[in-house]
């Protein structure tokens, strides 16, 4: 019948830390550090109410019947200080949710886009494709060919601006083993037409990398 007063929250949860509650567990690296963990509201769940102050589940009033869009959320951090000359310091994060996009306001001067979304369903969360890797039992004495294998791509890029000796060290490994590095050198003498030698040099290094990968997985 009436528009709800935006100043009256439909949900509120609070955590409070008083100075006399500070102990050594809150001191780290000469700093006071107070971790907070506070339940955030669910967009369309009029859950049962509990007390407001330091409420573990928060307080959801009966007028919180709106959906996830067209809502506003606010996180306010306030540090209360003693003395008239020490004003309290407040920190406000306002999360305005409309069509699941929202605006975060940090303090009173900064403004930033943010998002409030539904958590992913764990039953539909995609998992990486399993990769079966056969570990080496007896490594072959000689690798006869350097044919490419469907391993993760190896990209090598090189840009040269003047004639200098080139030395590239390549380390290849998998989760079980790190192969000895391969060190290739391109002498200065072959660099008078440096663009093409560098291209072949990098191709050679790429083939060597594939070879080492193949060796590691045999």
């Amino acid at each position: 019948m009436f528009d709800l007063d935006p100043k009256v929250p439909s949900y509120e949860a609070k955590r409070k830390m008083l100075s006399h509650q500070v102990d050594n567990s809150h001191i780290s690296n000469d700093q006071f550090c107070w971790p907070f963990s506070i339940p955030s509201p669910t967009p369309a769940s009029p859950s049962s109410a509990s007390s407001l102050a330091d409420s573990p589940l928060g307080h959801q009033s009966s007028n919180g019947h709106s959906t996830g869009s067209n809502q506003k959320f606010q996180l306010i951090v306030t540090i209360y200080r003693r003395g008239r000359l020490n004003p309290n310091v407040a920190f406000v994060i306002t999360i305005s949710c409309h069509e699941r996009s929202l605006t975060l306001c940090f303090g009173f001067r900064m403004r930033q886009k943010g998002h409030f979304i539904h958590p992913p369903d764990p039953t539909t969360r995609s998992s990486p494709t399993p990769v079966s890797v056969s570990l080496p039992q007896d490594p072959p004495a000689i690798i006869t060919s350097w044919e490419e294998q469907p391993f993760p791509p190896v990209f090598l890029r090189g840009v040269m601006f003047r004639q200098v000796p080139v030395e590239v060290e390549c380390k290849v490994g998998n989760r079980y083993q790190i192969m000895t590095s391969v060190r290739l050198s391109l002498p200065r003498s072959s660099l008078h037409q440096y663009a093409i030698p560098l291209y072949h040099f990098l191709r050679c290094l790429r083939s060597l990398t594939y070879g080492i990968l193949r060796y590691l997985t045999l």
């Binding site: 709800l4 935006p6 609070k14 409070k16 107070w34 996180l75 951090v77």
Partner: protein, 89 residues
């Protein structure tokens, strides 16, 4: 002493998911950094805007220099939900 942004918060917040990032915001008082407020989110990078999940615990921490603890009376954190968007806020 300024508030150090490199607070070892992992030991303070064991329930924060491992895939979360911590967005850090400095509160200034009289032109100097007074406190550090950190909020955990699911954003891919800390430079991205915070990404929060409905219904999940909103976690973070408030850090103060010990020098500023003398006049600190208390800290509170309030999460509120308002049913309608208002231009007044």
């Amino acid at each position: 002493m300024p508030v150090n942004a490199q607070v070892h918060h992992s030991s303070f917040s064991p329930t924060v998911p491992s895939d979360s990032v911590h967005h850090q915001y400095h509160l200034k008082s009289r032109g100097r950094d007074y406190a550090l407020v950190t909020v955990a989110s699911h954003a891919p990078n800390v430079q991205d805007s915070p990404l929060l999940y409905f219904g999940e615990e909103l976690e973070g921490f408030v850090a103060l220099s010990l020098n500023d603890m003398n006049d600190m009376q208390g800290v509170d954190v309030v999460v509120s939900q308002f049913p309608k968007w208002s231009n007044r806020n």
